[in-house]
């Protein structure tokens, strides 16, 4: 663990050593409160973070397990799958296979942080810095969260969802509601809007636009330009137009399957549509988290690291507490090598934190290489400002493309392995050398891209004149086709919601078309 530059400079500039806020592992409300004040001072005054008000809730390990099973939310509607994950988590925890998180933080206003009662005082301090300021700042400022989630409304919405589904169960029976939820859950990943939905223009505006266009055409009309005879017969044109209008009306192709089913399914009752909407809204709420996991954790780790160091510099936490923190911190941001038995992909905490620290380094202490790669901010000595801008405007994919430095690639010893399942070998495409930097950077970014995180599945056609069969098209990327077993299990769920036949086809450049019944 190296001591950072930022931490030393302000420390020497104003040497104010205060007595430690706490000693020993025990915590109480007063200590937590004092600590929070101290952290807040650093976070707001020195770092200038912009956060929602915080609500810290102390919970037991059992309640933590409860929170786990309801996808981390304080309230959730009832469904057997949450019971299943509760039993699994509980079992793993009791057997000691997995520990519990030290905190859960919810993207809401006020920002709710759950902290566990068995944490030591050092851990509570760390957790507050990490969640109540790190994550909180990220939630409030990142553009994805701003665009797709509404922190003010989420808790009320959860309450609404829970009550609504309970009421449906009362009225229509638990089994009926469960069926709809099962089917909706199966399509959860296909229930998010990835782009802002097209606004439907109102009819008056449409007509006006058409008139204007006609007028313009007439004013520009010249008989001379009519060189080609009209070939298409009128009838075909009309049918085409009707088809087009229909497609237009249904908004095809549509990648948000749950949205499509909610709006257009011929068989669903209103309450069933509302349930689809609830599941869809939850999926949408979590969508930004999936796309910013690495940055979000990186931001939180950077913030807690910075704050803990500042607390230590100003004498507000003891050496013992600092050691405990460093021990924990270095475990969290450990990145096992690819050949290590504990390797499970790139640790988002490790990469996130390293990238944040690296940006700080480039801002304050750049090498020639850095100046060449990052002329915009290398040596600008405004690390926190630069980071805040990154936290606000990027997601994992674009963040890597923009900020991953050769220095860090060397430090992580990153290499790009191409695994084409049709060949009997892996191919090392690029390594951390001059020729490989850009290749590695784009390959790593692609790993975090929407295309690699989510399958591209769209409703492409609905046979409204015939048997109302729905066709889903999966656009294959990198030759990764759909898992047939999963498809055969998911299709009945879509059929239940659509009421008529559903078929899925995979379309791709190399594989042509594969159809699943």
């Amino acid at each position: 663990m190296t001591t950072s530059k930022t931490r030393k400079k302000p420390a020497s500039s104003h040497k104010k050593i205060s007595p430690p806020i706490f000693e020993g592992a025990e915590w109480d409300y007063e200590k937590v409160d004092h600590c929070f004040q101290a952290i807040q001072k650093i976070a707001m005054e020195e770092m200038g973070l912009n956060v929602y008000p915080t609500q810290i809730e102390i919970i037991t390990s059992e309640q933590m397990l409860d929170a786990y099973s309801s996808v981390g939310m304080p309230l959730m509607y009832n469904h057997w799958s949450f019971g299943k994950s509760f039993l699994r988590d509980e079992s793993n925890y009791r057997k000691g296979f997995s520990g519990l998180a030290y905190e859960i933080v919810i993207n809401s206003n006020p920002c709710i942080c759950y902290i566990m009662e068995e944490n030591s005082m050092t851990m509570q301090t760390l957790v507050m810095a990490h969640a109540a300021f790190g994550h909180n700042h990220f939630f409030k400022n990142n553009h994805l969260f701003k665009q797709w989630t509404d922190a003010n409304a989420i808790l009320d919405y959860l309450q609404f969802a829970k009550n609504y589904i309970a009421k449906c169960e009362e009225r229509y029976g638990q089994k009926e509601v469960e069926k709809i939820l099962d089917s909706a859950h199966a399509l959860r990943d296909q229930g998010v809007d990835k782009f802002t939905r097209r606004q439907t223009l109102d009819v008056a505006a449409l007509r006006k636009r058409e008139l204007e266009r006609n007028e313009y055409e007439q004013s520009q009309y010249s008989e001379l330009w009519r060189t080609l005879p009209e070939t298409a017969s009128k009838d075909d044109e009309e049918i085409d137009l009707i088809e087009k209008a229909l497609v237009q009306k249904l908004g095809l192709p549509e990648s948000n399957l749950l949205y499509f089913l909610e709006k257009h399914s011929p068989v669903l009752e209103n309450w069933q549509r509302e349930i689809l909407r609830i599941v869809r809204s939850m999926a949408q709420y979590f969508y930004p988290q999936r796309q910013t996991k690495m940055m979000n954790e990186g931001c939180a780790c950077f913030v807690h690291y910075h704050i803990m160091n500042r607390l230590f510099d100003t004498g507000q936490i003891t050496e013992g507490a600092m050691l405990e923190f460093i021990d924990f911190h270095s475990r969290v941001i450990a990145q096992p090598d690819f050949d290590n038995q504990y390797y499970a992909g790139i640790n988002p905490y490790a990469l996130g934190f390293a990238m944040m620290k690296d940006i700080e380094r480039i801002c304050e202490n750049p090498t020639e290489e850095d100046r060449e790669w990052f002329p915009d901010f290398a040596g600008n000595n405004q690390a926190i400002e630069t980071l805040k801008e990154a936290w606000e405007n990027f997601r994992d994919e674009s963040f890597i493309l923009q900020y991953l430095s050769p220095h860090l690639m060397r430090e992580f010893r990153l290499f790009n392995l191409n695994d084409d399942k049709s060949r009997p070998f892996y191919l090392v495409n690029a390594i951390h050398n001059k020729q490989g930097y850009t290749a590695i950077r784009s390959a790593l970014a692609a790993q975090y891209s929407v295309a690699s995180l989510d399958l591209d599945i769209q409703v492409t056609n609905v046979d409204l004149h015939g048997n109302r069969a729905m066709t889903l098209t999966h656009n294959v990327t990198n030759g990764v086709t759909l898992d047939e077993k999963q498809v055969s299990l998911v299709i009945p769920h879509i059929q239940r919601l659509w009421g008529y036949d559903v078929s899925v086809k995979s379309v791709g450049p190399d594989i042509g078309e594969t159809n699943f019944a």
Partner: protein
């Protein structure tokens, strides 16, 4: 700005309802697992939950997923040691290290076995679904009845300690509003006005009249207040309790087993399972269940569980000795007036021929009138069952008992040859629709 909220005292088990839904859903699988689990238990070891493992069919949550065995996967990994660009690495036969990223484990086939712990109640609920105690009319047995008080609405009379303040005040408020009882504030307001007016040194006639009017109004209001009391006896409500009768819930269970040489290990194992299930079942119905183990050869004695199942004895077989011993114990310690008595007898059907009549006699005259239920289970091992198929080859003891069955409703007999039979047999004995069958 921060709030700290202590949630530790919030009600636990927020996910209880989800848990129940899950168990409902997995009922068939769980039931199977429970049946397997039960065979490995000790009779009286019924505390604590049971860890069970179920296959996950029907509990699987499918989603569209990419096939991780196809296509091109371009990965960036950390910790390069000696790779150079262009290196080709042979693919390990099946998913070696490095190849299995996140795509694999997450939701593939990794979930085939799902293990968790059922609470004791959940376990037994599932196990004894659709079973109930036979509803026999007790003739000579006086039931011990305890009394318990439960809430039963409200009443107008009662002791002050039972006064329901909330309801009383609500009634009072409603009455006061209806009868327009002047509020304190109205009176003080009037009085204030009067004193203010009086304080002036000179009064015009108009003011004097006003004072008189106000005084009158005050007088009326005060009278009204007296007439309309704050709390009237009409308002008062007391919580009411009624006494209900709670039937006696003690039971004693007699386990009778033949341990003579002819009873092999398989026989005993079968018997043990039967006893164990019966015990579990009774525990569900009664708050307290005593278990008495009586083993017999040509002599009978009361023993503890360990000896009952595991020690060997040699000797002849006289069933009636056990019945006599049981009768003696009942007389000494379990007066039938106070206890619900259940008995289960397991035997391979061997008995001294001359004893069968005596058994019959003992049962009809003494034991059956005292018992809630007497079940006889004849255990045969599978070889015997193969050799003597059909019912024609019943043992003498069976024949003797069969006659009893005609005349006694609280007597049942069954044959068990394999462990799988035990649960169905128990189920038959205590099936919920049993009543209609008998009737």
């Amino acid at each position: 700005m921060m709030h700290i909220i202590d949630r530790r005292l919030n009600p636990k088990g927020k996910s209880l309802s989800n848990r129940q839904r899950f168990i409902d859903r997995a009922k068939t699988q769980i039931k199977k697992a429970v049946n397997e689990a039960i065979t490995n238990r000790k009779i009286s070891n019924t505390d604590g939950g049971e860890r069970i493992k179920i296959p996950s069919d029907g509990l699987y949550e499918p989603r569209f997923a990419g096939d991780s065995e196809k296509g091109i996967h371009d990965r960036v990994m950390p910790g390069n040691k000696d790779f150079m660009p262009g290196d080709k690495i042979k693919r390990p036969p099946s998913g070696g290290p490095g190849q299995r990223g996140r795509d694999a484990g997450e939701d593939g086939e990794g979930e085939d076995g799902f293990q968790f712990t059922l609470t004791r109640d959940e376990f037994l609920d599932i196990f004894f679904e659709n079973m109930a105690l036979p509803d026999f009319i007790k003739k000579s047995i006086k039931e011990e009845v305890t009394h318990e008080y439960t809430r039963a609405g409200y009443k107008r009379q009662g002791s002050p300690s039972n006064l329901d303040l909330k309801l009383t005040m609500r009634n009072s408020l409603a009455r006061r509003l209806c009868l327009r009882r002047p509020r304190n504030e109205e009176i003080t307001e009037l009085e204030d006005k009067i004193t203010a007016l009086r304080r002036q040194k000179k009064h015009t006639i108009k003011e004097q009249n006003k004072i008189i009017a106000l005084l009158e109004e005050l007088e009326v209001k005060k009278r009204r207040r007296k007439m309309v009391p704050y709390i009237d006896p009409l308002d008062v409500r007391y919580t009411s309790f009624t006494e209900i009768e709670k039937p006696n819930t003690h039971a004693v269970m007699f386990c009778l087993m033949d341990v003579s040489g002819s009873m092999g290990e398989t026989h005993k194992e079968l018997a043990k399972r039967f006893f164990m299930l019966l015990h579990l079942f009774l525990i569900r119905q009664y708050t307290k269940v005593d278990v008495i183990f009586i083993r017999h050869t040509h002599l009978a004695s009361e023993v503890d569980e360990e000896t009952f199942f595991h020690s060997r004895e040699t000797g002849g077989t006289i069933v009636s000795t056990a019945l006599e011993e049981m009768q003696k114990i009942i007389k000494d310690r379990y007066p039938p007036e106070d206890w619900n008595i259940y008995a289960a007898q397991a035997s391979d059907g061997d008995n001294l021929n001359s004893d069968n009549a005596h058994c019959q006699h003992l049962l009809t005259q003494n034991i059956l009138p005292m018992c809630q239920y007497f079940a006889y289970v004849e255990v045969w091992d599978s070889h015997e069952a193969e050799m003597f198929p059909g019912d024609g080859n019943a043992t003498r003891l069976w024949q003797a008992y069969e006659e009893l069955k005609q005349s006694h409703q609280n007597f049942a007999l069954k044959k068990v040859t394999r462990p799988e039979d035990i649960f169905p047999v128990l189920h038959d004995l205590f099936a919920k629709n049993k009543k209609s069958e008998v009737a």
